[in-house]
Amino acid sequence: MTYCILIIITTLITVLLIPFLDSKQKGNVAVLGVLINSIISSVIAIQVLLGQTFEYSFYGGFIFGSIILKVDALSAWFILLMNFTSITAILYGVQYLKVYQNQRARLSMHYGSFLLNHFAMIGIYFLHNLLAFLCVWELMAISAFLLVIFEHHKMETIKAGMNYLIQSHVSVVFIMLGIIWVSFNTGSFVFSAISQYSLSVSNPISFLLFLCFFAGFAIKAGFVPFHTWLPHAHPAAPAHISGLMSGVIIKLGIYGILRMLLLINANFLIIGIFILIISVISGVYGVMLAILQHNLKRLLAYHSIENIGIIGIGIGIGCIGKGIGNDFLQFAGFAGALLHTLNHSLFKSLLFYAAGTVYQAVHTVQIEQLGGLIKKMPHTAILFLIGSLAICGLPPFNGFVSEFLIYSGLFGAINNNQLSFTILIISSIFGLVLIGGLALFCFTKAFGIVFLGTARNHHPHNYEEPGTATLFPKYMIVVFILVIGLLPQLFIRVINGPVSMFQDESGLNQSLPKLINTMQMVSLASTAILIFAFGVYFIKKQFTRKAVINFSPTWGCGYDVVSPKLQYTAGSYARSFEKLVKPIINIHKHEGRINTIVPHPVGFASHVSDKIETNLISTPIMHLRGFVGKFTFLQNGSVQFYVLYGVVFILIAITIPFLINSAFFIFELFKQL
């Protein structure tokens, strides 16, 4: 309990302190606050993972009833990964915001809301009271919104922020409906009330309840078709916030879904299939759109959707495993999902930070204008490369481990006695592979075009590699990425805690040793790759010590006027893919034609728009506004009308019953005839 009070006090003090400090100190204080809170909460989490229990309950007043503070293995896991990314985010953020030294008010708001955000997220993982949960949930959303609109002098930033705010409010609405539903039937706000209720009702009902909560959390997590806020919010936010959002905040949705899976006991088979399908769709759709983006951060945002899809696949097969009582499938599924949650938060934040560094160096994240950054910013380039390899799920990096877990779950379960699942599983394997391949396509493009070759348009001023302070948090992440990639068995052990919460006692942990063995082999193999690579390179070095090395322009097939314009662009790189997917994705082209004898300069531009967003969000809202707009005659400024409204109201209220009665009378008359 004292821990929690400590956290609250720290947050209050820091938030109140920050506005009165000068710009440098603001940052340091914010770092300090985040560190303290992280350490405290992490201590609790680690204790819990080591087997202690953390549960307090106190009376929260007339409205809330009893509030339970509880950390179990699941929330402990999430707390840890949340803290890590928050720390890296603030560390990097302080450096990132150095440019804005002179705008003190802005910085105060930013750091203040960062601390609030961190605090709210801790609260989300601690609280087991639905109403209180909702409050901190919205607090988190609001503070995240304030973080996103840091560059609030731009209209599009505000637009994106509003979009995010409204959608997260919609998610709150869904969750609130669920809470009302439960509290109406049980009269209590504690989490366990949900399981009570779902025990008391039939499966379809509790599935509906689950859907209600799922919709709420899916908006936060960014499952298709609830993903539309991500591609707007991420590019608008400053880099460290994009990293935070994509690394941690959307994971809150995952946490919520997992929590609900623990509480609601519906037919897990149905739930699993539902989640699996929606996740495969999210994954494929996300990466498909990602390839066609020309804005680096937007591309990464779509990749978040894809990775959420992968996590969802893990959860889905976990549920199916629970449903059909396949212990291995269940373990692999949930373990894969949880591990991928961690992994994604690592490499995605790394990628966003790198993108941020690029932005600060050359003031654009338009892929088509970049190129050749590796020359001047080798560190950033390597970091981005590692991130890309990890996100493509290539060994020996961490992304592979979690995907491997999911794969082995799928392949392990392929041989079950229901045909439908076999089909389902093979199709989700297909989806997963497709996602992998597309991700590779996408990140070869991203890395290759942004960092390799030469600059595609003349970068105005001479930029350079940022200092150690900026690189340090990224290398922190890299260390973790490599550790997970090379020593997965350790993490499997850790993850056993939260995963076993999903398993019923019966089939507990036969699959753990099995997986640990496999993981040892995986780590062996991963190490082997590194050894091979270095070995070959070493041999090469030895072999070509005496060989003559000379440099010349790139071979232009005889055309020896080297110009950056000759390079392959991102658009042309994606062209071959674009042709394949044209039927399912809106691609708008603006093409200038040469129609005079003396050709004038013409341009070509293409951008892709999110079909789901257009059909699901924009169009309905347009119609709604149209409908609402029809009623603007009401306040038309003439007193007669104002009086008329009253008269009409009274008359209608008087006459309607009469009319209804007479209608009934006539109806009766006809009946008698």
Partner: protein
């Protein structure tokens, strides 16, 4: 006797409906005042004299003499055109007012109430809605005031219907009557007359969304 008076009152409503010129309205309102005096006298004969006097003062002095004069004064002072300028033609107005009367009559028939004398109810209701109707369909602000006065008369009749047990309500009604009329006309004469020359509501339509 009361009934005859009340019927006369109803006729005056229809008369207002077909009237064209503002002076006709004013005279009609004055006429209604007289009728109200009669009705009040008959109805409230048995209540204590103080109340009675108050009521009679109100009907005769205020409703019949002061307000019409006041209206005349306003019309002259602000050089308001003498036409009522309704949105709808008088024919329609007459039809609708008749409809109102008919409707309130029908409605009163649904009441199974020995206690209340329906005629009061009918007249009051029709006066109310006629007044509202006038407010809604006439263009001039002063006609709004007139419509309001008609409503007030209706309320007065209704309060008479219950008043013989509860004089307090009648007094309150009178209070309202005097109070509001003074307020409205006060604003009217002092301000609107100064600011706006032609009493067209359309000039008071700046506040809107």
């Amino acid at each position: 006797m009361t009934n005859i008076l009340l019927i006369a009152f109803t006729i005056s409503l229809i008369y207002i409906g077909m009237a064209n010129r503002l002076y006709t309205y004013i005279s009609a309102i004055a006429f209604q005042g007289v009728i109200l005096f009669g009705v009040a006298f008959i109805e409230l004969i048995e209540i204590n004299t103080l109340n009675l006097i108050l009521v009679l003062l109100e009907t005769i002095v205020f409703k019949t003499i002061l307000i019409p004069m006041f209206l005349n004064y306003v019309i002259k002072r602000n050089k308001i055109t003498r036409e009522a300028e309704p949105f709808l033609t008088n024919f329609v107005s007459v039809v609708i007012i008749t409809g109102i009367i008919l409707g309130s009559f029908l409605m009163s028939n649904t009441i199974h109430d020995t206690h209340l004398r329906k005629i009061f109810f009918v007249v009051a209701l029709s006066a109310l809605f006629t007044g509202l109707y006038i407010i809604i369909t006439r263009r001039k602000i002063i006609t709004h005031v007139m419509g309001f006065l008609v409503i007030e008369n209706g309320v007065f009749i209704l309060s008479l219907a219950v008043g013989n047990e509860m004089p307090m309500l009648v007094n309150i009604g009178i209070l309202l009557d005097i109070f509001v009329s003074v307020l409205l006309l006060g604003i009217f004469v002092n301000k609107i007359g100064d600011v706006l020359k032609e009493q067209d509501v359309s000039q008071l339509r700046n506040l809107k969304d």
